[in-house]
């Protein structure tokens, strides 16, 4: 089995099906607008008082907001639905069906669900980032662009890995539904660059829930703050998270015995 082909099949069928529910598109669009609007109000409140926030100017923070929106769309369209389904599968014993398939179980549980309309946030995020970029009068060099893109991808992979680790706990503790709410709350903190938070929270947002890597570092790439060192650290962290999450997932699987005997 080719995992990419498999993921694309799931994607295609997910998209075709969600297309039927066009109302979801409008609901999602409305939600995106509300979050952009509240974000903008927040920004103007802050910049009514100060010229800079922890070294970030207004258009720079707009870029952070754009990345936060974009990544949030990725989480809600792919990561969260799959992980929530995994929790359900463990609780209901339907994970049996995944484990009796001739395919890597981790890949299967990670591509099952796809919420197409949530991608509206990704597009709105890109628009916000573009506007911020124009306001910054920035020029985007090739190197800078790839720095941004790779930081974004690594951030996404890290968020996925952390979520997988948390979900793997459901093999031992059957009820972990609340954890995804907690995760959402922590992710919301990523709307601001992690540098503005006190150090204990900053550490948590960097190493426990890697919001720093998922949002702040890509935004740094856009605003010319990114150093090769932090990109390398991001790469190391990504590898570490991937290995750890795979390990915990496998440990969890060996502990799984289905919902009934």
């Amino acid at each position: 089995m080719n995992p990419i082909k498999l993921a694309l099949t799931y994607l295609r069928i997910g998209v075709l099906n969600e297309m039927q529910y066009r109302i979801n598109f409008f609901i999602q669009l409305l939600q995106s607008f509300i979050s952009v609007a509240t974000g903008l109000i927040g920004l103007s409140l802050v910049f009514g008082q100060v010229k800079k926030l922890a070294g970030w100017s207004r258009p720079e923070l707009l870029a952070v907001m754009g990345v936060h929106l974009l990544m949030g769309g990725v989480i809600r369209s792919i990561i969260q639905p799959n992980m929530e389904r995994l929790m359900d599968d463990v609780r209901n014993g339907t994970l049996d069906f995944v484990l009796t398939k001739p395919a890597d179980a981790q890949i299967l549980v990670s591509v099952h669900e796809f919420r197409f309309w949530q991608l509206v946030d990704v597009i709105v995020g890109i628009v916000v980032i573009s506007i911020a970029f124009i306001q910054l009068n920035g020029t985007l060099g090739i190197l800078q662009f790839f720095g941004f893109l790779s930081a974004l991808i690594m951030g996404g992979i890290m968020l996925y890995s952390v979520w997988l680790m948390v979900t793997s706990i459901s093999f031992w503790v059957i009820r972990v539904q609340e954890i995804s709410n907690l995760f959402e709350g922590l992710y919301a903190a990523g709307r601001w660059p992690v540098g503005i938070y006190p150090s204990w929270l900053r550490t948590g947002l960097t190493f426990l829930v890697p919001v720093a890597f998922a949002v702040t570092i890509p935004a740094e790439a856009l605003t010319n703050r990114l150093t090769g060192t932090s990109l390398l650290i991001a790469l190391g962290m990504t590898l570490l998270f991937v290995v750890l999450s795979r390990g915990l997932w496998r440990l969890g699987l060996s502990n799984y015995s289905g919902a009934s005997s």
């Binding site: 089995m1 080719n2 082909k5 498999l6 099949t9 799931y10 069928i13 075709l16 099906n17 209901n92 014993g93 339907t94 049996d96 069906f97 484990l99 009796t100 398939k101 001739p102 395919a103 299967l108 015995s257 289905g258 009934s260 005997s261």
Partner: protein, 327 residues
């Protein structure tokens, strides 16, 4: 020839936490947890040859599902050897999983919101089936189970029976050589049960597939399985032909008698099971059947008389109760 499924001395024990009721016990168990070992399957052995359809019988909690789960690679045996098609199921090698299927009557694998036809497409991708072969199998199955008008509806809009038929199609699209069916007809009406039974039979005959089936409906077992394995409390009680089970465990026959005079007392001939107007059913020891029949016919005026084996459900029931008494 090596058997398709070979199970020798299989045991599966679970360690389950145990505590008494009440708050105090709950708190104590947080710190000092006691475990109890449950022997779900205890020293079970059997071989199944290619193409056989075997009924796996036993009351709830007998260890049937546990055995099926071990065979499909979901559970590791505590001890014993299991081999299916030359593979060790626990290793869950993709080559092995490609050749088997597990169907559970009380659980769905098809996506609730997708029409079945899309879920089938996903199965095709998972098993990397060639398109033409996949389409042919799919359309054959859809015809056989008369599902043509339903495949484009989301699963959630289908009835329980229709959904089960879809589940079976989805599970067999890769044309597995070995089928593990756990209560495939549970909760379905008689017509639907019959349809699914016929399909399993057809599949078995057409592809020579080996089938291990559990069911609480004896009609399923009678229609499909020549051979049955009966397990209880994790032990094998019987392994052999279905009709042999009846001979071995049933020492009675049932006589149905219709008399013109409903008032006649028949208790001297045997144990009266039911009395419905002129129709009486009597239970008599098997060895005495011909004697009792002759006596009835000579002593009384009889309109109708039938001699039947004890219904298989009653036989199974007596198997389980007799072993309980023996313990």
């Amino acid at each position: 020839m090596t058997p398709t499924i070979s199970v020798s001395n299989l045991s599966k024990h679970y360690k389950v936490p145990e505590r008494d009721g009440g708050m105090k016990a709950a708190v104590i168990s947080l710190f000092n947890r006691k475990y109890r070992t449950v022997k779900a399957v205890d020293d079970v052995s059997f071989n199944i040859e290619a193409g056989e359809v075997v009924g796996f019988l036993g009351p709830n909690g007998a260890g049937k599902t546990t055995t099926l789960k071990v065979l499909s690679g979901l559970l590791h045996p505590t001890s014993g050897m299991v081999n299916v098609l030359g593979y060790e199921p626990t290793k869950r090698s993709h080559d092995y999983l490609r050749q088997v299927a597990l169907v559970m009557g009380n659980r769905n694998q098809l996506s609730w919101d997708l029409p079945a036809i899309d879920s089938f497409e996903l199965q095709r991708a998972i098993y990397s089936l060639p398109v033409s072969e996949f389409k042919k199998t799919r359309d054959d199955f859809i015809d056989l189970l008369e599902l043509k008008d339903l495949v484009n509806k989301p699963i959630r809009n289908l009835s329980l029976g229709e959904r089960m038929k879809m589940e079976i199609v989805g599970a067999l699209l890769h044309r597995p050589k070995v089928l593990f069916l756990d209560e495939p007809t549970i909760g379905l009406d008689v017509t639907m049960q019959r349809r699914i039974r016929a399909f399993i039979k057809e599949y078995n005959q057409r592809w020579g597939a080996t089938v291990l089936l559990t069911s609480h409906y004896m009609a399923d077992v009678e229609a499909l399985c020549k051979r049955v394995i009966v397990i209880h409390h994790g032990h094998t009680l019987f392994d052999g032909e279905l009709n042999q089970l009846v001979t071995q465990f049933s020492s009675f026959k049932t006589l149905g008698i219709t008399l013109p005079d409903p008032e006649v007392d028949l208790s001297q001939y045997g144990e009266v099971l039911t009395r419905d107007g002129a129709r009486v059913t009597l239970r008599v020891p098997k060895a005495k059947t011909s004697q009792v029949t002759a006596n009835l016919l000579s002593d009384l005026q009889v309109d109708d008389l039938t001699v039947e084996d004890t219904p298989i459900d009653d036989v199974i029931d007596s198997v389980f109760t007799s072993t309980k008494a023996a313990k």
